[in-house]
Each structure stands twice: as structure tokens, then as C-alpha cells.
Symmetry: C2
Subunit: 191 residues, 2 copies
DNA sequence: TATTTTACATACATGACGTATGTCAATGCA
DNA sequence: TGCATTGACATACGTCATGTATGTAAAATA
């Protein structure tokens, strides 16, 4: 199958980056783990950051798909936006996502809004907010800014939960606080 | 004066980390820039991440001091919290802060809440929120979670402003959006 | 069939980090 | 005063990781 080598490298890199971090992962090791050498890696991804970008894009896509599904389950309007945020928080509890997308990604690829993958999660939040704004459900506010802040809050919620001593207890608290914050954008109080 | 070498290394590292990032900065280069060698660096800071931790602590302290001053200027209560957040956003526009504290810090030192410096900014937000909660100005919510989300939103606001094509125009939008979000914690709508 | 491109492997050059060791001055102590 | 110890660095070395240059076999193409 075409792309098999690429897929193997991607999977191995994903694992290595998650376990040792981007800086700590050796290209020799992660290629050898799937029976290849760095030659294959440079051929397919150009350099080490190119590999990171590909891994990030994959993870980002998975997160966005999950969030979209959660949003659809929640129906229309405001509930969908909150469900999407909650899904984002829960996804970010995955150590792979955390280390690769939330920590190493911004440090080595720069600000997420500038990623080639465009950060699908951010884009979805922006879209959802834009629709709610047009229907007057959320106040007049710069949509780009609002989406960015919401996502930032969600990301930090996840990091907080993950590093807390009792993540199981922390998660509902984080979700509650996130909901309150988000409702700051509501045009009228929807309690 | 005692600590002069340490101060020189700290200043040089701060500059090098800001310009080339933590991973890209060479210890040989940044020590040579102030007429020293890596020997001095290892003697004072243990290893490269120890140096980063020291630089982060310095920057974090400066941010916290600025935010505290801004909060004091704004008086008491809710206004002080918003002023503190705004000050945090503006400070984070500094490329040094952005690269070292917001991007490389979390990637190489781990989650900010676990830093030895304790992240003074986060601690101040927590304290301010705690007082507002006791006086009934903010709703009942987990204070740790709320502080974390607020700070995360502020951080992302700053990153968004910094990477926007027109930061001058973006800053007021970010501040407005941040204010709305924060007011989600208000017990009654304070418009 | 000849040629070009793809898909890797291999070898090499460069540079970075950490550690082990050496030096010299300051300080404590007898 | 003389000696031992510690602090504050510099120097040399080993290891390892990245990137590049080169080689090669298979596949596609003409």
C-alpha cells in the first residue's frame, strides 16, 4: 500500500514524541523501532520539525473530529459549543495530545494559529461562535479573539486537570468553570 | 559584588533564549558573549534546564510585579482583577516573555503550576479570585480551576495579539473579549 | 530498452551537551 | 604563619544527535 512507510514512521514518531518529548526523541531510535533508518524519514518529512508538524496535524484532526461529533450530539446552538469545548478538554487529557500538541507543538512550530494544519480545533470553534453570533445568541465580539480565548481556556483547563493530584475530581470542576467562562459571551444569561 | 557572574549569565541567557529559543541557544555562545565559559554556567545553574528555570523565575517575577501594580492602581474588587488580567496580556506581548515563559517554559519545564517559582502570576490571580469569592462578587466555583482558566485565556489572548497582522488593532479586541469571558464568573451581571 | 525518478540506506561532517579534571584564589584552622 | 579545604571557574574529552551528501535498487516512463 502506498504510504505505508509514512504511516509507520508517523506512528512511531507519535509514540516517541509522547514518551520522550520532541527534543528528547532520537530520530535514529524512532526509525529503527519500525525497521527503517533516518533516510526514510528525511525523504518523507524533510526534517525533524516536518515530522512533528505531520504528527500534530494528525492529532489535531482526531481532536477536531471528536469535538465535532460531540457538538453534533448536543444538538444546535449554545449547547453544541459547550459540548465542543468539553470534548476539547477531555481530549487534551490524553498524554499524547498534551505533550505533542499543547506543549511541544507551540514551542517548536510556533503559535498554533500559524500552523500549516490551521489548527482544526480552533477553526471549528471559530465557526461555531460565528454562527451563534449571527443568530444573536452571543454578544458582539471579535470572533477570532473569542475563539482563541475559549480554546486557550480549554487547553489550560486540561493541563490543570492532568497535573492535579486527583484528576477524576478535578475534571468536573474544570468543566464547570469552563462553562461559566464561556457563558460570559452569552447575550443574555442562559442559566 | 557577589552574584555578578550569575547575573551576567542570566542576562545573556535571557537574550539568547529570546532570540533563538531554548533549544536553539548554544551554551558555549551565550557564555562567551559575557566573557565566560560553560564551566561557570554549570557551576551556578547545574544544567541547561536549570538556567532556563532561573530565567523563567526572573521574568515571572517581573510580570507579577507589573500586574500587582496595575491591580493596585485599579482600586479594589472586580476592577482590580480585570486590570491584573489586562496587565498580564500586555506583558505577554513582550517577545521575551512570550518565547521563554509561554512557549519554551511549559515545553521544557513542564506545566507552569509545577514550576519551582510557583508561577507568581497564577498565584496572584488565585488570591484575587479567592477574595472576590469570599465577598460574594464571584460565583461559587473552584478557585484553582478558575484562576487557571483565566490565566490561560489571558496567555492565549496575548499570543493571538502578537501573531495578528495588526497587533495595535487586535489588542483592544482581545481585552474586550477577555473582559467578557472573565465576567462569566461574576455573581450578577456587572455591565 | 534506456532513462529518469522514487524510496530508501549509508557514511560523514558538524556541533551540542555533560562530565571529569585541573587551576587558582579565598577562607578557615592549628 | 602554614596548611587544608572549598569555591569559582576553565579546559579537554566522550558521546550523541542532526543534517547532508552520496550510493543503490526498484519502479515508472518514454
Amino acid at each position: 500500500m502506498i504510504g505505508e512507510t509514512r504511516a509507520k514512521l508517523l506512528a512511531s514518531a507519535r509514540k516517541a514524541f509522547a514518551e520522550k518529548g520532541f527534543a528528547g526523541a532520537s530520530m535514529d531510535d524512532l526509525t529503527a523501532a519500525v525497521g527503517l533508518t533516518r533516510g526514510a524519514l528525511y525523504h518523507h518529512f524533510g526534517d525533524k520539525t516536518g515530522l512533528l508538524a505531520a504528527v500534530v496535524e494528525q492529532l489535531d484532526g482526531e481532536m477536531a473530529a471528536r469535538a465535532a461529533a460531540a457538538g453534533a450530539d448536543a444538538g444546535e446552538g449554545w449547547a453544541a459549543l459547550e459540548a465542543q469545548g468539553a470534548s476539547y478538554i477531555e481530549a487534551a487529557l490524553d498524554p499524547e495530545i498534551q505533550r505533542i500538541v499543547l506543549l511541544d507543538g507551540p514551542a517548536f512550530l510556533g503559535d498554533p494559529s500559524l500552523w500549516p494544519s490551521q489548527n482544526a480545533c480552533l477553526e471549528d470553534t471559530r465557526r461555531a461562535l460565528g454562527q451563534l453570533s449571527q443568530s444573536g445568541i452571543v454578544k458582539a465580539v471579535d470572533i477570532d479573539a473569542a475563539a482563541r480565548l475559549l480554546n486557550g481556556a480549554a487547553l489550560n483547563a486540561a493541563l490543570w486537570v492532568a497535573t492535579s493530584s486527583d484528576p477524576g475530581a478535578a475534571l468536573p470542576k474544570a468543566l464547570e468553570a469552563f462553562g461559566m467562562l464561556a457563558r460570559g459571551f452569552l447575550a443574555d444569561k442562559g442559566e
